[in-house]
């Protein structure tokens, strides 16, 4: 037993150091540019592929591996320089929510490009002979490769620690991280330093990709393997703090080790449980202060500032005409669209409802959550499971049940989470809950484990005298359309009603809303409950349409879908999420046969939208018209300026 514990701890330490090697770059970029780079895992993957291209499957010597890793670091540093000039520099001027989306777009582009360049096949790389063995100490033995990784992790930490905290460059970096405006005024070329830091971060991640290449299955899914853990490390340590990230990585590794000993059946779940506990206890991380002013940061992100505020709808009649037209066209589709297209449209409608429910939080209540898919999965599994059991419960009752289940879970989660956390901490908390659910499902045989529930029958609805049979694709499509339209209408009437106005008010200025006597927390909780219930309903509606539910429904990648749809369409508009879902589905339908290219195109479009029109597609239209009306608006840096005008326009009641 003692042996086993020792071994688990040693393995944990190896895992921790591997994570640190990856997370160091995230910390550097965040500390400096205040951008949480979601694409970091993808750059790690690209680093691994580049190194693989250099050394192939069997590196001859340790030296060759290190050499390939360094070369890969330089390649990535070059990529970093390019991205700094084209993307990161622009992201410094727009809100955090948008930089998240933009880096997510980068993630899609990178993953797609990886598939195109290196293919989707699995590769494996062996450790060089010198590292393949083990060092034996009495009855304890340690794989040489693990020792190699641990040594490199410590070395990297020491190097970064000395540069950031001891050197004169580090002082300049910290000065800029705190106040780049003033740093510029004392004669520092801040743009150059930004570029250097981004290159350093990319060098680190490229090198990590090369060094961690052995014992890794190299596939286009590699980006995921360290992504969430790196974020956790960065959050635990306090955003932007190298020392914190190092300690966080060790903690995380040891927790993984403990998970292996205590819960061997469900790997990786303990980390999320502990992370949630940690976030509730210390949402600002272990070391919130030195280096980067993360304490203010986390507070500042409580509200989705920087994002154009949600507009009260202007012309009602135009909206009604448009809505009727859209529903009419959709209703006619089963007569002329082919089955594949119809299927996609059905999905898009459900995704639109999911996105509407997410935007109720983001665009109205001012809360950013990354785990919305968990509610969706809850509803989907609830209905899917019971339909397969042939329980005889009426379908409408099942739908109501999923609504109630979603509301109940959202109430419990929201009650604790909204009280204790906000901003990024809330985002990571909800993301962790989603991951816990996904893992729990994929290790439950009753729910089909990884394969999910397939062959879900489509139901009949017994309305007394009439029996509506929804088993045909066409019938269920119409039902789906009716249901989604109803939900959208209900949400719309909620947002234009008195409650919606309160939400908009507290979204724009929660502090002032509080002074006006609004119980901000209660309204946020209310929005959270409604949002969770609607998301669960969306899942419930989708299960019989797809006829299969898999744990992927709860994954964080699915959680990002409503975010992307919302921001693409325009979070400041009630109908934005629907427009975004339609555009996204159109793109993915058009590029569906091209492995990789579809992600590159979707990611590229998303990136362009975020950089050129942070108000989304709808925002673009309304901004043009507003700019037109105001007239002589000198030359200006478009983004912040227009955002300000936007605020003025909505400033009045």
């Amino acid at each position: 037993m003692g042996m086993q514990i020792g071994f688990a701890l040693f393995n944990g330490l190896t895992v921790g150091m591997s994570i640190f090697l990856v997370a160091a770059g995230i910390t550097l970029v965040f500390g400096m540019l205040k951008i949480l780079n979601i694409a970091h895992g993808s750059f790690f993957m690209i680093g691994a592929y580049v190194a693989y291209s250099i050394i192939g499957s069997h590196p001859d010597s340790t030296l060759q591996l290190v050499f390939a890793a360094i070369l890969s670091g330089f390649v990535l540093a070059g990529l970093g320089l390019l991205l700094n000039a084209s993307v990161f520099q622009r992201l410094r001027n727009i809100g955090e929510a948008y930089s998240l989306i933009a880096t997510f777009a980068l993630l899609m582009i990178c993953n797609g490009a990886t598939k195109i360049i290196w293919g989707v096949n699995y590769h494996s790389v062996s450790a060089p002979d010198a590292l393949a063995g083990a060092v034996i100490y009495g009855s304890f033995f340690a794989p040489s490769y693990s020792l190699f990784i641990i040594g490199l992790g410590v070395l990297t930490f020491l190097a970064l620690e000395i540069v950031v905290h001891r050197s004169s460059v580090g002082k300049i970096v910290r000065a800029i991280a705190h106040d780049s405006w003033m740093a510029n005024l004392v004669g520092i070329n801040t743009s150059r330093i930004y570029a250097l830091v981004v290159m350093a971060a990319f060098f680190c991640v490229g090198m990590a990709g090369g060094l961690l290449l052995p014992n890794q299955s190299l596939t286009p899914l590699l980006f995921e393997s360290y992504l969430l853990q790196s974020f956790m490390v960065v959050i635990i340590g306090g955003l932007g703090n190298i020392r914190g990230a190092f300690i966080g990585a060790i903690m995380l590794g040891l927790i993984e080790g403990a998970n292996f000993l205590m819960l061997p059946g469900i790997p990786g779940i303990l980390v999320y449980v502990i992370l949630i506990g940690f976030l509730l206890w210390r949402p600002q991380g272990l070391f919130p202060q030195p280096g980067a002013d993360t304490a203010d940061r986390v507070e500042g992100m409580a509200e989705t500032e920087g994002v154009p505020a949600t507009m009260p709808p202007k012309s009602l009649s135009g909206g009604i005409v448009a809505a009727v037209l859209v529903v009419g066209v959709l209703a006619s589709m089963p007569f002329w669209a082919n089955a594949g297209f119809l299927f996609i449209v059905g999905f898009a409608m459900v995704e639109a409802v999911l996105a509407l429910s997410w935007n109720l939080l983001f665009g109205y209540a001012g809360l950013t959550t990354f785990g919305h898919a968990a509610f969706f999965a809850l509803g989907a599994y609830f209905v899917g499971f019971l339909l397969r059991q042939d329980t005889g419960i009426p379908f409408l009752a099942l739908l109501s049940g999923s609504l109630a289940l979603g509301a109940l879970v959202a109430f419990i989660v929201g009650f604790v989470a909204i009280r204790r956390t906000s901003g990024i901490a809330l985002g990571i908390l909800t993301l962790s809950l989603g991951e816990i659910l996904r893992r729990a499902i994929s290790y439950s045989p009753a729910l089909g484990s990884d394969d999910g529930l397939s062959g879900i029958p489509r139901p009949q609805i017994d309305l007394g005298p009439v029996l509506v049979d929804l088993s045909s694709e066409r019938a269920y499509f119409w039902f789906l359309l009716a249901a989604c339209s109803l939900v959208a209408l209900a949400l719309w009437s909620f947002t234009v009603g008195p409650m919606g106005r309160v939400l908009i008010a507290l979204r724009q200025d929660p502090v002032r809303a509080e002074f006006l006597g609004i119980d901000v927390r209660r309204y946020r909780l209310l929005a959270f409950v409604i949002s969770g219930a609607v998301a669960a309903l969306a899942g419930a509606l989708q299960a019989p349409w797809a006829q299969i539910v898999t744990p992927e429904a709860a994954s964080y990648l699915h959680s990002t879908q409503p975010m992307l749809n919302t921001l693409l369409g325009g979070s400041g508009f009630f109908w934005g999420p629907i427009v975004g879902s339609a555009i996204f589905s159109g793109i993915s339908y058009a590029t569906r046969t091209l492995a990789g290219l579809s992600e590159v195109v979707s990611g590229g479009i998303l990136l362009v939208v975020v950089l050129a029109a942070p108000g989304g597609v709808l925002g673009l239209g309304s901004r043009f018209s507003r700019t037109w009306r105001i007239g002589a608006l000198h030359k200006r840096p478009a983004v912040d300026e227009l955002a300000r005008v936007g605020k003025q326009a909505v400033g009045g009641p």
Binding site: K171, I172, R174, A175, H178, D179, W181, M182, A183, N184, L185, V186, G187, I188, N189, T190, P290, G291, D293, I630, L633, H634, K635, R636, E641, R644, V645
Partner: protein, 233 residues
């Protein structure tokens, strides 16, 4: 040395400065007085290209600065001490001063010890972090940091705001001594007439983004109507 001509500045749609003309001769010391919101801070920031969108000419020793970024202007010899001081909180006082030598570029900056000597208050604080200083101490550090690169022209934006009278007197003495000793020009924006008169020879009054009076302090004294109209509350 520093010539500002026809300077217009905008924040968004708001037109803040309207054709401001201003000259600071070599080793000259000039004040700008004006009420809150008259455009003093905008003028200071505009000269460094650090915020507002600007149109108009800014020349330093004959060099046109119109296309230069803030850090280039700093390296060419303009040093702004902003009204909110902006000390780097996670650096020590010494490091706060040394980091400003970046602005010296190829020229030689001042010696740290000599600058610290000019501010008797700072000596014992050299190892403290920026975040551990009081408002008055921060202002001293900000001014010291501003002169470190030995600029051609020091721009002080309302340095006396929120300072105790005794500190204001110390600051005035230090500023004059530094400017005299190292031949540094001074452009000072102020509301404290005593401080401005102590530190400078010329005075401009700014109102609604326009210079409405320029002259020596004697000329200023001979026009009580100007003082009443533009500065009295």
């Amino acid at each position: 040395m520093l010539e500002v001509s026809g300077l217009n500045a905008f924040y968004g749609d708001s037109h803040i400065l309207h054709g401001v003309d201003l000259t600071v001769g070599s080793s000259d010391r000039v004040s700008i007085l004006g009420r809150n919101g008259s455009g003093k801070t905008t003028l200071m920031k505009s000269i460094l290209n650090a915020g507002p969108r600007i149109h108009g000419g800014i020349r330093l020793d004959g060099t046109d600065l119109a296309r230069e970024t803030s850090f280039r202007r700093a390296r060419l010899g303009l040093s702004l001490v902003p009204e909110d001081r902006r000390i780097f909180p996670h650096l020590t006082v010494t490091d706060n001063l040394l980091i400003a030598l970046a602005a010296a570029g190829d020229r030689a900056g001042l010696d740290l010890e000599r600058v610290l000597d000019t501010f008797p208050m700072l000596g014992p604080l050299a190892a403290r972090y920026g975040s551990q200083l009081s408002g008055g101490q921060q202002q001293m550090v900000a001014v010291a940091r501003g002169v470190m690169p030995r600029p051609r022209c020091l721009l002080l934006d309302e340095p006396t705001e929120g300072l105790a009278p005794v500190i204001v007197r110390q600051l005035a003495a230090s500023v004059v001594r530094l400017c005299d000793e190292f031949k540094i020009g001074l452009l000072l924006s102020e509301q404290n007439i005593w401080f401005a008169r102590f530190c400078t020879q010329h005075v401009h009054i700014i109102e609604n983004g326009r210079i409405v009076f320029s002259g020596s302090w004697d000329e200023f004294e001979s026009r009580p109507d100007v003082k009443h109209r533009y500065l009295a509350v």
